[in-house]
């Protein structure tokens, strides 16, 4: 019988401690990634009267609040740019990052019923949680374009940098999300910790203030240890011009890569125990 050879063969054996990522298998499960992403998006706006408009309203309202508090009341400087555009250009990638981080870090526990009943590559869960947020981001990106047109700021070719920068924001969220989601399976403390982490991280990133407030030189370079510094700085430059990315960016990129690789390995190491302890 030739059929025997066409069938996939699965080996059952005790888990090895460290293992790489099986990209082939992830590809075979691509439809599941699609459906879980689709589910997250569908469910998010079910029974909400305003529906998908929330994807637009959320960044718009945060921009409005920051503008009133920091731009008008506290008169934070904005490198000479109109404050709403200045803050929104940073809030877009920030919102993408923060929401992705929040959703992905609780995603495994939130899908515990799947983990304990069905086999699939566990990476799919945090990845699809983030993909669902990315779709919102793309929708809200159009508002920023409108806002820029209102203030008559014409983007240049630099705007194309937004694509790799978005990818970097997503990968940063994924890297941290992998660590936190795997930890959350065992330590539910993560769920209490994440809101504070996001808050602290926000003030540690140049969102409501320009990066020029940080003295140039070694300090600003070290500031790039926060990978979102590179992302936000890059976003502002790509959309509005101003301070171009420098060494800070390079530091951020290296940090993201290290975080991502370590996160993937930690996740792969822990995933064998998810079903038993979640």
């Amino acid at each position: 019988m030739t059929a025997q050879y066409d069938l996939p063969k699965v080996i059952l054996r005790p888990a090895r401690k460290w293992q790489g990522i099986d990209f082939k298998e992830l590809w075979r499960y691509r439809e599941l990634i699609y459906f879980l992403t689709w589910r997250d998006i569908k469910v998010r706006y079910k029974q909400a009267a305003l529906g998908v408009s929330w994807a637009l309203l959320q960044p718009l309202l945060t921009t409005l609040i920051s503008w009133v508090v920091f731009g008008i009341l506290l008169k934070v400087e904005s490198d000479g740019l109109p404050y709403p555009v200045f803050v929104m250009s940073a809030l877009m990638p920030w919102h993408l990052f923060a929401t992705s981080l929040q959703k992905s870090s609780i995603s495994l526990v939130g899908n515990a019923n799947l983990l304990t009943k069905i086999y699939f590559p566990r990476l799919i869960i945090p990845v699809s949680a983030i993909l669902a947020v990315l779709v919102d981001f793309i929708i809200s990106f159009f508002i920023l374009i409108v806002l820029m047109l209102v203030y008559r700021i014409a983007p240049s070719w630099q705007v194309l940098w937004v694509i790799p920068l978005t990818l970097m924001a997503v990968l940063t969220a994924l890297a941290v999300g992998l660590w936190l989601s795997a930890l959350d399976v065992q330590y539910r403390d993560v769920q209490h910790m994440v809101p504070f982490l996001v808050q602290i991280w926000m003030y540690a990133s140049p969102i409501v203030y320009p990066i020029s407030t940080i003295p140039e030189g070694i300090f600003r370079t070290l500031y790039g240890l926060n990978p979102m510094v590179g992302v936000i700085q890059g976003f502002r430059w790509a959309l509005l011009g101003g301070t171009p990315p420098d060494l800070t960016m390079l530091v951020s990129v290296i940090v993201v890569i290290l975080l991502l690789i370590s996160g993937l390995f930690y996740f792969r190491r822990m995933e064998k125990t998810f079903a038993d302890i979640v």
Partner: protein
């Protein structure tokens, strides 16, 4: 010409128990235990002893093979390791030791409706659940109408499933699962859904699946289902395979397991699920007409089945009942201690304390053969405290029963003494 679909050798799975102390559940615990561990670094042996005490082998030395196209039943009491075995085979969890090979895609139905989302409509959930169970979108597209028709929820297919009745929900969930087509199907007790009619339909569907030449592993507490769908059965007990054999003999073996004293079943405290409280079953006995505990009764004599239990709190509307089935799984009768209206009125409330509910089985009722007693304690439509469908088995000896002068087997579970009149016409 057979091919092996599943081959496992020496599979074992160890779990930690008493985790609350050993495994830190919060970061604070993690920090404190690590500080303690640092202190214990020099007494390593002591720590290993602690670890050994806190682990349990849910499965040990499991080796078996399943040929392609075979339908294998797995039976065992709660906690025997059936679910763990299925989880390992479907790769949800890894074995602690051993090795196994599986040829073909494995579809696991450890629970129907896994991944159903209450906010999504029936249609959306079919796609989502299908994808989760491993179907391709094309496959779901082509089977969509069939799934909907099988589930009988056509009218509500675009309604969020949170508005479904629990019956509709389960029917839809089962329909999606029943249309999976992996080479190997692993099924855990999913047939116990819906009303009797839908269950029959499910059974029919599972029978079809078994006949399509797919390999099926089938776990159930329902012996009649096991007998109907499988040819061979594994008996698991305390994480080990006790026997594997032709289903009828395996089922008989299983039903007679662990009844040290024939004709009596006594429950230990640790066999009772916490959910049974405040109902605590103590024992079930078969008493002959002379009041002796027996496991063989004569059909010409009456006998008693006695259920002893303790209530730690008063229960309203409690009914304690018996199921009687043949070992082939055919139901013979179901009866409750408050079936009689006057008993129902007297015992609307039962105070805490120890009770015995005794059922008298009249003479000349049962046919010869082996029977299985099951016990149920519930408050109708409020709560089922305890249920065990295989408590005891006993044999009925038909010597002296009506018609025994013809030594031929009489089909049927009952053999009552009927009143016959014989009249001759024209007199």
């Amino acid at each position: 010409m057979t091919e092996t679909a599943i081959n496992v050798q020496g599979i074992g799975k160890r779990y930690r128990i008493g985790e609350a102390q050993e495994r830190p559940d919060t970061l604070r615990d993690l920090i404190t235990t690590n500080v303690q561990k640092a202190g214990r670094l020099f007494s390593k042996t002591q720590r290993q002893i602690v670890n050994a005490e806190n682990t349990i082998w849910a499965l040990k030395d499991i080796s078996f093979e399943v040929q392609k196209g075979q339908v294998l039943g797995i039976v065992g009491r709660n906690g025997a390791g059936k679910s763990t075995l299925l989880k390992i085979l479907s790769r949800v969890t890894d074995p602690t030791e051993g090795y196994g090979e599986i040829v073909g895609r494995v579809g696991s139905l450890l629970e129907v409706g896994t991944g159903f989302h209450p906010e999504l409509t029936g249609r959306e959930n079919i796609y989502l659940n299908g994808a989760i169970l491993g179907m391709q979108r094309k496959e779901i597209d082509s089977k969509f109408d069939e799934i909907v028709a099988f589930s009988e929820v056509e009218k509500f297919i675009d309604t969020p499933v949170k508005r479904y009745s629990s019956g509709m929900y389960l029917r839809l969930a089962f329909s999606v699962a029943a249309h999976l087509e992996p080479e190997i199907l692993v099924v855990d007790e999913v047939l116990a859904v819906g009303d009797a009619e839908f269950q029959r339909k499910c059974l029919g569907k599972m029978g079809d699946v078994a006949q399509q030449g797919r390999t099926v592993l089938f776990v159930s507490h329902n012996m009649s289902v096991i007998l109907r769908l499988t040819q061979e059965t594994l008996v698991l007990e305390k994480g080990r395979i006790l026997m594997r054999g032709e289903t009828a003999s395996a089922v008989d073996y299983y039903l007679n397991l662990g009844h040290a004293k024939q004709g009596e079943r006594i429950w230990d405290q640790d066999e009772i699920p916490a959910s049974a409280a405040p109902f605590r079953p103590l024992s079930v006995r078969i008493l002959s007409s002379e009041g002796k505990v027996v496991d063989t009764v004569r059909s010409v004599d009456g006998f008693d089945i006695e259920v002893a239990y303790k209530l730690s709190e008063p229960i309203t509307g409690l009914r304690v009942g018996l199921y009687l089935n043949t070992t082939r799984g055919e139901p013979v009768f179901t009866t409750f201690d408050t079936d009689a209206p006057e008993k129902f009125d007297t015992y609307t409330n039962r105070d805490s304390g120890e009770y015995i509910s005794r059922c008298h089985i009249p003479a000349n009722l049962l046919n010869e053969g082996r029977f299985v007693i099951g016990v149920n304690a519930s408050s109708y439509r409020i709560k089922r405290y305890f249920q065990d469908e295989q408590v005891l088995t006993f044999t009925v000896d038909a010597t002296g029963a009506p018609g025994m002068h013809w030594p031929e087997p009489r089909p049927g579970a009952v053999r009552p003494q009927f009143q016959w009149e014989i009249e001759r016409d024209g007199l």
